[in-house]
Every structure is written in structure tokens, then in C-alpha cells.
Amino acid sequence: MKFNRKAVSTSTAGLAIALVIVIAAAGAYIALNPATTQKVTTTSVSTAVSTSVSTSIVVSTVSSSSAQSESLAGAGSTFVFPLMSAWTVQYHNLFSNIQVNYQSIGSGGGIAAFEGHTVDFGASDAPLKGADITKTPNALTLPITIGAVTVAYNIPKIPNGILLTGSVVADIYLGKVTMWNDPEIVGLQTNATTAGNLPAKSILVVHRSDGSGTTFTFTGFLSADSSSWNSTIGQGKTVAWPVGLGAAGNEGVAGVVRGTQYTIGYVELAYAIQNKMTVAAIKNPSGSFVLPTLTTSAAAAQNIGALPTGLGDWSKVNLLNQPGATTYPIVTFVYLFVYKELNVNTGQTSGTSLAGSTALVQFFWWLDHTGQQTSSGLSYVPLPPNVVTINEQSLSSITYNGQTLTTH
């Protein structure tokens, strides 16, 4: 079985080695230039798509004869993926010449693709901040939907809506409160039956194992409400969890919490509603305990007051703990990013023709208006009017080679 080196003539071996070195060099070059890799990938994917679907949908970015057909590419947040898929299908049904391909590669990957101009738009659960802002000059931020994070639990004989505060939840996730009948929890309950039914059982803490915007929002809320959480753990897409088990994805956490008694976990509102999970009412800054619903979550964005413009700095924008007696406190925006001058997207549909850039802007305009009606059906929170207006202004300011575009 051994490779007989003597049998290979020296010239052949030399050739082989030279070729290997060339392959290695090319490989190293591609590996060391992530932008190149992604461009290559994107191109090949779109080529594959255009050949495979040529019978039903004509996808072409170069052919001038079919100037009306445009294929837009987006990448990023996994949280918004179910909604985005519904949007792209609906939009394609309305405008059969527009095909939007959204890859849910994660918010970090979405921002990287946006920075590398390998997509027409990026999507993220968190706004651009720090170095990402300087890497993306003239990027517009468009909040496109709203997500709420619920604190879900599974305790026998305890119905929906136990009362919890951010600091108690933080203490549970810090491992300071370990029993369901801890005075810190029992003391919050106004319903005597619920208080009496809280069992003398250990709390089984479940968190996300994968990096996620859900965790970012949840730990942001805990940091705001609990100084000990803020000083020891802080906010992040993944944090150094002191206790608990990790499960992958919202569905993973939902699965473990539903399948195991005495657990507590945090999941996006959509998953809590679809899985009919029991969730806690969380104390908001005005002192009332509010259950997470589409209405109470939308209230957060209505009451926030002044928001930046699309070109402004959104890194400080925070939907957590907004005012209002019926405002649910653990709420976040999901953002789309797009460049104000689209000709920077060299090689992408939106950066190569007026028709392509117009298609992108009109798709976004549709998302900002008609598309919002899809949101509540999928348990995402529709944008309130103030945010819709900010997006309208941003979209109207988008240009291609300095030329303003028809938005609708």
C-alpha cells in the first residue's frame, strides 16, 4: 500500500511538487483574503442559482435585454430569517422579476459581508458600533422589525405570568437564587396561590450556547437592572455564564425548558408564542409587571422619544426599559444596513445599474410599509409610525451615482 517513491521519475515528482506549491500559494492567497473568498462564493452561488432556476425565473444581472429582472443579495441575522423568508417569497409573488436571496449566516457575518460589499444589504440584531462604523462610511441603518425576549419557565401547577424583576432574574442567572421558593421570588408574587405553589426545587438555568442577538438583548437588560450582573458578567452575544446549561438556538432553549421541569430560560417572543410556553411578567421602569405580547413590545419603540436619523449613530439606541405603564422592558430592534450611495457595491446588483439600485430601494420601501403586516402573523412586532417615518427619510436619501431613486 505504500507509495513507491522510486517509481516516480524525478521530473514527474518535480512537476507534481511545483503544482502543489502553486495550489498551496493560491489557497493561501484566497484564505488570507476573506473578501476575495466571499466574493468568489457569492458569485458562484448566484451563477448556480441563475442556471438552475432559468426555467421558472430569469435571474440575470448582466443581460440588458432583461433589464427588469434583478437579483438582490442580503446576509446576516438568523433571528430575522423566518420573517425575511416570508418577505422575500411575498415580494417575489408581487414582483416576479425581483428575486431576493437572504442568507442567515449570523449578524457578525452579515456585517462582515456588508463591509466587504459582497451583499446588497446586511442584517443584524445589534447596531453597527465602533470599528464597524468607521469601516462602513455612509451606511444607513434601518430598524426593520422589533423582537422581544421572554423569560420562560416550566414549573408544575404554576400558570403563565409569575412576577419577576430584572435583578431577581440576574440573581437566578448568577447562581445566587437557586430555589424556586426563594424569598426573593416568593416575595414578588401578588397571587397567593402562585406564591404558595412555588416548589422547594432547584432552579435549572438554561441559556443559549451559541452567540446570539437574543443573548445580547437579555444580558443587556440584566446589566441595566442588576449592578452585580453588570460588574461581573456584562452584556454580550455570548457571556461567561456562571451557572446553567447551554442549548443551541431559540428552539434549543425552548425544547429544553418545555421538556424539563423546574427550568428557566429566555427565548424570543415568537418562539414563546408558537410553543405556548409559560412566561414571566417582567417589572418595567414605571413599576408595573408586564407580560410580553406584540402590543406591549411595540410600546417600547413608540415611547422611546428621539431616534437618530438613518445616517446617525445607532450604537447607543436601546429599546430596553422604555417608559410607559404597559411597556414590556426586554425589547430590541433588528436592523438592515444599506449604503447611502449604492455604487460602492461593486459587483452587486444594487451597485451596477440604476434598475438594480432602484429594485433594492423599492424592496426596502415595501418592507417598511406593506411588509410590516406580515410581521404580527409570524409573532414579530410591527414598526410603530415614528420608526416607519425615519426609514422613509433614509430610503429617500439613497442615490446611485448621485442620482436619487424612485422609492415607490
Binding site: M1, F3, A7, V8, S9, T12, A13, L15, A16, I17, L19, V20, I23, A24, G27, A28, A31, L32, T78, I105, G106, S107, G108, G109, I111, A112, E115, A131, D132, S202, L204, S209, D210, G211, S212, G213, I233, G234, Q235, G236, K237, T238, V239, A240, W241, P242, V243, G244, L245, G246, A247, A248, G252, G255, V256, G259, T260
Partner: protein
């Protein structure tokens, strides 16, 4: 007449390039991992290899990969401890004892196990197998051996033991089918000679057949170990995914994390340009080093320690 002309040398060239491409892939990935890991190695130094804290929060970044290295080693060890005896039993039964009528279907079914995607093992582990593990393995272990540190903790089914058991199932097809081939290849003259001097079937299998094929069987075990070390999806779903000091595998009934599961969990959403990305790449580098050490160590053991018998299968 067969001509040894251009066709032959072209074939050699192509074969040489294909063989070389494996080297090239290894070289490129090694180089990429190393350059990608440099920032975290500069920032944390030796702590990266021996530290236990893992914090990607901006401003508090510290990355120690020791718990995940240990997690990988412990889960793989459990997989071997459980999986290898079962695999050898299957291999011996199929090659030495079973009637021909059951040999084919059983070996076919065992090999079918290898075709099950790992995510299916993971889902089955989370939704079905986990509850059997809790009821029939972990709860008794906890009740009777709970005083041992290795079995302390609440049986929850999402822990290092579950991950090890799932892995053991996943390595069975690899180890058993290769071992079966090795045992089948042992010349019949060996068996006949052994029987003729009055050995029992057990003695023949133990002292002659297994001894004759042991380097090959060892190779099969190493292949199984390779699968266990690198397995990602199934492990991620059942291991509990703890981080930091909580992930040090002090008890089999505690959540843990392997190097592969850590990367699978964190890499996708890590922000580009941060130290966190570099840390995951560093863990990838560590995983590659561990795999290399295992393979080199195995080679050394096969060639030096086990002293292959003359004529044995290499």
C-alpha cells in the same frame, strides 16, 4: 502488450498531484489557523492553553481553552471505553462465530449506523435517548456512586456522560467494520494450528486471532478516536455547553464543552475583527494539534510498542 508510455507517466503525475493536494490542504489550513490565532496567542499567551476563564464580552476579554481540551479528551475517552469493547464483540461475532445467514444483514446494519447524519444522533439524543440515560444510567449512578466526585451533580441528561455515550454509538460502525475486516484477514492456517494444539475457541480468538491482528485493530480504534475528537453537531446538542470554569469536566454528570462544540456555538455570531474570532481559530488550531498528536502517537505505538509480528496485516 501493455505499453508503459505516456499514459503511465501521466497517471503517475495525476496521482502525485492528488496525493500532494492533501499535503497542500493541510499546509494551508495549518498556516491559516496559525495566523488567525496569533492575536489571541499574543494577548493571552500561555493562559490560552492552561487558563479556564472564557469571556468574549468586549473589555473583559480573556480566553483560556483548557476546559474544552479536557472536555474533548474526556468525552472521547468515554466513547472509546464504551464503544471499543462493543465494536470488538461485533467484529469477533461476525467474523468468527455467526452463521452466514445473519452475518450479512448484521454487518450491513452496523455499517448503516455510519450513514446516519450526526445531527440526527444529536436530535435523537436530546429528545429521546436523553431520558433513558437519565432514568437508567445517570439516576442509579448518582444514587449509588454520587459520593464520588466523578458522579456528583444532578442527573439531567445534558452532560459529559451523555455526550460520551452518543459518541460511543457513533464510533461503533467505524471500529467494528474495520476490525471485522482485520480479523477476517487473519489466515486460517493460524486458527487451524492453534486448534490442533488443543486451544479452545476463546483461546484461539484471544491468543492468536486478536494478537495477530492487534496493530490493525489498534488502527481501527484510532480512526474511531479521530471521529470522536472531531465530532461537533451531536456533541453540541447533548453536552450542555457550559463555559469557563464551569466547563472543566470535574464530574461526568455535569454540563461540559468540547473544542469542536465551542467553535460551533460561538464562531458564527462572533463579530469580525474581535479577539473572540481569533480565540475560536486558536481552539481550531489546538484541535488540529491534538489530532496530530493522537495520530503520531498511534503510529509510534503501532510501529514501536506493539512490534508487529512478521506477516501480520499492516
Amino acid at each position: 502488450m501493455v505499453s508503459f508510455g505516456r499514459g503511465d507517466s501521466t497517471f503517475k503525475l495525476i496521482a502525485g498531484i492528488l496525493a500532494g493536494s492533501a499535503l497542500a490542504i493541510l499546509a494551508v489550513s495549518g498556516y491559516t489557523l496559525l495566523t488567525g490565532a496569533l492575536p489571541v496567542l499574543n494577548a493571552d499567551g500561555l493562559y490560552f492553553f492552561f487558563g479556564t476563564n472564557w469571556n468574549p464580552v468586549i473589555g473583559r476579554e480573556i480566553f483560556g481553552a483548557l476546559p474544552y481540551l479536557l472536555g474533548t479528551l474526556v468525552t472521547s475517552a468515554i466513547a472509546l471505553i464504551i464503544g471499543v469493547p462493543i465494536s470488538l464483540g461485533i467484529a469477533i461475532f461476525l467474523s468468527e462465530m455467526s452463521p452466514r445467514r445473519v452475518r450479512v444483514p448484521i454487518s450491513y446494519l452496523v455499517e448503516l449506523l455510519a450513514a446516519v447524519p450526526s445531527v440526527v444522533y444529536g436530535l435523537w439524543g436530546v429528545f429521546v435517548f436523553r431520558f433513558y440515560v437519565i432514568d437508567y444510567i445517570e439516576t442509579p449512578l448518582s444514587n449509588y456512586l454520587g459520593w464520588l466526585p466523578a458522579f456528583s451533580g444532578t442527573p439531567f441528561g445534558l452532560d459529559i456522560l451523555s455526550a460520551g455515550i452518543i459518541l460511543s454509538i457513533m464510533i461503533i460502525p467505524t471500529v467494528s467494520s474495520i476490525s471485522r475486516e482485520i480479523i477476517t484477514a487473519v489466515p486460517n492456517s493460524i486458527r487451524e494450528g492453534a486448534y490442533s494444539i488443543g486451544a479452545t475457541r476463546w483461546e484461539v480468538i484471544r491468543n492468536w486471532v486478536l494478537a495477530y491482528g492487534r496493530s490493525g485493530i489498534f488502527g481501527a480504534v484510532i480512526l474511531g478516536l479521530g471521529r470522536a475528537v472531531g465530532e461537533t453537531m451531536a456533541v453540541t446538542m447533548v453536552i450542555g455547553n457550559t463555559v469557563g470554569p464551569a466547563a472543566v469536566p470535574t464530574s461526568l454528570l455535569k454540563g461540559g464543552q468540547t473544542m469542536a462544540s465551542l467553535i460551533a456555538n460561538g464562531f458564527i455570531e462572533a463579530s469580525p475583527g474581535t479577539l473572540e474570532i481569533s480565540a475560536y481559530i486558536g481552539v481550531g488550531l489546538l484541535l488540529m494539534i491534538v489530532a496530530l498528536i493522537i495520530n503520531i502517537g498511534a503510529q509510534l505505538m503501532v510501529t514501536r510498542v506493539l512490534k508487529v509480528k512478521r506477516g501480520a496485516i499492516e
